[in-house]
């Protein structure tokens, strides 16, 4: 080969390599093929959670060749109810965070029972008996993801700067809140906007206070609809929440921000400099709302303590929640996906990304990332655990309860005036409760699975 040819070949090579580099330098685009027989999944996960779940589904597709389409909606629960009530096309699988909604769907016979093979996979991977998964031989819920609520997030550097310590009792928390106000720091970040579930963050606060002040037994009674909302203990929990968080000067941006800000943006002022608030009570999944590269832990950017109990002689209770899966179709592809999601590797892709906790016994604690491991260790402790009550209420009761809370919060007249109207608001909720009083017994089996399994 002559030198000229070599030179030309080299020139063409360099040119091609440069074009490849430039091609990659600009954004990469790849079309997905639309598949008519894909398994469809409908849920509430958006943003990073939606992408993480999509990665889980991609694992399944890689293994089986079965395509899956996931759609997530901010108005997920009302959307799902509407799909059923209006006879719209139903998904093959739905991700449901509320046992109350699952009971409704099961009673309307729109969901199909778990396949026997799925029940087997669940029994193999979760600390559940066959009877717990499928009471009387029929189960509907596949527990998929669990959350720890009851966490108070704060920035250790800000606490250290002011000489504050995480409190060990609820009264200590009240004192700390007052101390923060005196120091000119707004104590709390808080927001309620969440589409058709607006108000659930307020409910979480009240649930946490109720289980601490009145005890788990009273809480369970309330969860099962056996305790009126006008019961003094419930009223006290609402009032305590009002006094602690919603008082003028206690919450970042005032009531206006509380009602107009979406829950995922509620915590944002915590990370500002100077901080817009000193604390935010949020669930474990709040980590996906943190700014990128935020580190968690005593030496990290942000840390948490469990909302303290009435006294510090025993660990404070934990409020838990979770998301389960139900299926609307029992064709083989759907069952295969349910079995994959119930199995030992059904959450792997999400665990790798972080922000995924599972009740599976087949997943070793070491498999979690450092932040998720902190939550898993909490769950493995000997704390009393209760399930999120508002998620367990039947939809009409849940809607009435959340509406009452949001109406109370949006009342701009101040805490004392709001408290005066509280009784009337809670009486309205009780009226709805009376209509569905006997419905709660249906939920027993499902709630048990949510609480113990996931």
């Amino acid at each position: 080969m002559s030198a000229t040819v070599v030179r030309r070949v080299a020139l063409v090579g360099v040119l091609l390599a440069t074009i490849v580099v430039l091609w990659r330098w600009t954004s990469d685009v790849d079309h997905r093929a639309e598949s008519p027989d894909a398994v469809t999944v409908f849920g509430l996960w958006l943003g990073a959670d939606g992408e993480a779940f999509d990665a889980v589904l991609a694992d399944f597709t890689d293994q089986t060749g079965i395509p899956v389409r996931y759609t997530g909606s901010s108005d997920f629960d009302s959307d799902l109810r509407q799909r059923v009530s209006r006879g719209l096309e139903l998904p093959d699988i739905a991700v449901v965070p509320q046992p109350g909604l699952i009971v409704e769907l099961a009673s309307q016979e729109v969901v199909v029972p778990l396949d026997d093979s799925t029940v087997d996979v669940l029994v193999d991977n979760y600390p559940l008996t066959r009877e717990q998964v499928a009471p009387n031989g029929t189960g509907y819920l596949l527990p998929f993801r669990t959350h720890v609520k009851s966490l108070v997030w704060y920035r250790p550097a800000v606490f250290a700067q002011h000489g504050w310590e995480p409190p060990t009792t609820l009264d200590g928390l009240t004192d700390l809140t007052d101390e923060m106000v005196d120091a000119g720091v707004v104590p709390w970040c808080f927001a309620v906007e969440s589409g058709s579930s607006t108000g659930w963050t307020a409910s979480d606060w009240i649930e946490d206070l109720l289980v601490r002040r009145a005890g788990p037994d009273v809480y369970e009674q309330w969860l099962r609809g056996e305790l009126p909302f006008t019961d003094q203990r419930v009223v006290d929990a609402v009032t305590e929440f009002d006094d602690l968080v919603l008082q003028k000067g206690h919450v970042a941006g005032g009531i206006q921000r509380v009602v107009s800000t979406s829950v995922d943006e509620g915590i944002a002022p915590l990370f500002e400099d100077p901080p817009g608030c000193a604390m935010s009570k949020d669930a474990s999944f709040a980590t996906s709302w943190f700014p990128d590269d935020t580190t968690v832990g005593p030496d990290g950017d942000v840390d948490f303590f469990v909302l303290p109990g009435v006294d510090d002689t025993e660990p404070a209770p934990l409020l838990r929640a979770g998301e389960g899966l139900v299926q609307f179709d029992d064709r083989d592809e759907v069952v295969q996906l349910m079995n994959f999601l119930a199995g030992p590797h059904g959450g792997d892709a999400w665990m790798e990304r972080g922000g995924y906790l599972s009740g599976r016994t087949s997943v070793a604690p070491d498999a979690y990332g450092p932040t998720d491991r902190l939550f898993i260790d909490l769950l493995d402790g000997d704390r009393v655990e209760v399930f999120d009550a508002s998620d367990s209420f039947r939809s009409p009761l849940r809607d009435a309860w959340l509406d009452a809370l949001v109406s109370g919060i949006a009342d701009q007249r101040g805490v004392d005036e709001r408290d005066a109207d509280l009784q009337a608001l809670l009486e309205d909720v009780d009226e709805v409760r009376a209509r569905y009083e006997d419905a709660s017994s249906d939920a027993d089996g499902i709630v048990d699975v949510e609480t113990s399994g996931d």
Partner: protein, 369 residues
């Protein structure tokens, strides 16, 4: 007369370089040679004395050089400052003013003439002046942003004048090639100098460089890179197309270098144009994708609810996904928004992240993957 154009020069014209003398050797009849030979018969075979003087005056040598550099640097710094303030205040008029002050066109035309005449010494001089001007313009943009930018603009909401320079496409290449050719046509014809400000405005060089500085200071590396790509596009296209225009005006390599020298140099500039065209084509492709996405969204809304009216639409087909934001006015409660997202996904064939603001107060967010 502005300084974006080549300076017309004052005092005695510099002596005629060997480089600008016409090549007396007869053309060989390759395919290209045939075309060039034919064009040679209808176009001037050698440049006029006026043309040679205009090219010689671009970058003076000797004593005049120091004064030229000082004036060049002052005008680059001033025009970049004017451009940076115009960009930050989102004022198109001020940015155009900066284009008219900017003197960068002079060394670039010098480089183009040096390519055509195969004059390496002149080329090196021109490239050094271009590098000096480039660095200075970016530095002034960066400094202006450091002093004023952070307080007046939000990096997540860049002024339109800056955004316009952070996503160049093939159309920008077309503008640069046409305007570069115009510059190459005007340069040897002093009678046509009145048209030069138009060339300066069409292929703005300093505003993209000021944008590079501003966006770099704001930590926006992608925007900075893209603004620099726009500058490179203009640079490569002007050198190439002005070179062709000068060639057609009769400029040739000096005697003894032959056609090979010209061919190699033109090939290199053409290659530079091809290289910048790759990312530009990519950008243009993504603009086309955005248009396809917009079409899919409009049709999907029509199918979703024939009574719904799109008040505002914002689409972005980025990476492997489509981000869509819609402000919709409709009658009564909206149809299920998840169904709209699935309709868009089905029509566009990619995962869709959809935000709908319905009747101004109801917000829905859906992802259809």
């Amino acid at each position: 007369m502005t300084d974006e154009q080549p300076s017309s020069g004052t005092g005695d014209p510099a002596p005629l370089d060997d480089a600008t003398r016409p090549d007396p050797s007869p053309p060989r009849l390759t395919a290209l040679g045939t075309v060039v030979g034919w064009m040679g018969s209808v176009l001037p075979s050698e440049p006029t004395q006026e043309a040679i003087e205009a090219v010689d005056d671009l970058i003076p040598t000797g004593d005049a050089q120091r004064e030229f550099i000082a004036r060049f640097c002052s005008l680059v710094a001033l025009s970049s400052a004017v451009a940076a303030f115009g960009l930050l205040s989102d004022s198109g008029a001020v940015v155009i003013g900066a284009m008219l002050i900017a003197p960068l066109m002079t060394p670039i035309m010098g480089a183009s003439a040096a390519v055509v005449t195969a004059d390496n010494r002149r080329l090196v001089r021109a490239v050094l002046v271009i590098l000096l001007g480039t660095g200075l313009a970016v530095a002034v943009g960066w400094l202006t942003s450091l002093i004023a930018g952070g307080t007046v603009i939000d990096p997540s909401l860049l002024p339109q004048e800056i955004q316009n320079r952070t996503f160049p496409g093939l159309l920008d290449l077309g503008v640069a090639i046409s305007a570069g050719a115009a510059g190459g046509y005007i340069l040897p014809r002093r009678s046509a100098f009145a048209a030069l400000p138009g060339v300066g405005i069409a292929v703005a060089l300093v505003p993209p460089l000021a944008t590079v500085g501003i966006t770099a200071e704001l930590g926006l590396s992608t925007e900075s890179r893209n603004a620099f790509l726009l500058y490179l596009t203009n640079l490569a296209a002007i050198v190439f197309s002005a070179g062709i225009a000068l060639l057609l005006s009769g400029f040739r390599p000096r005697a003894g270098l032959g056609r090979g020298a010209l061919r190699t140099r033109l090939l290199i500039t053409a290659l530079a144009v091809v290289l910048v065209a790759v990312p530009l084509a990519r950008h243009t492709g993504s603009v086309v994708e955005d248009l396809q996405l917009q079409g899919a969204v409009v049709n999907a809304v029509e199918a979703w609810d024939p009574e719904a009216r799109i008040v505002e639409i914002s689409v972005d087909a980025v990476d492997d996904e489509a981000d869509v934001e819609l402000l919709i006015a409709g009658r009564g409660d909206p149809e299920p928004v998840w169904a709209l997202a699935e309709e868009i996904r089905s029509r566009f064939g990619r995962p869709v992240n959809l935000v709908v603001l319905y009747d101004g107060n109801e917000r829905y967010e859906v992802t259809a993957r």
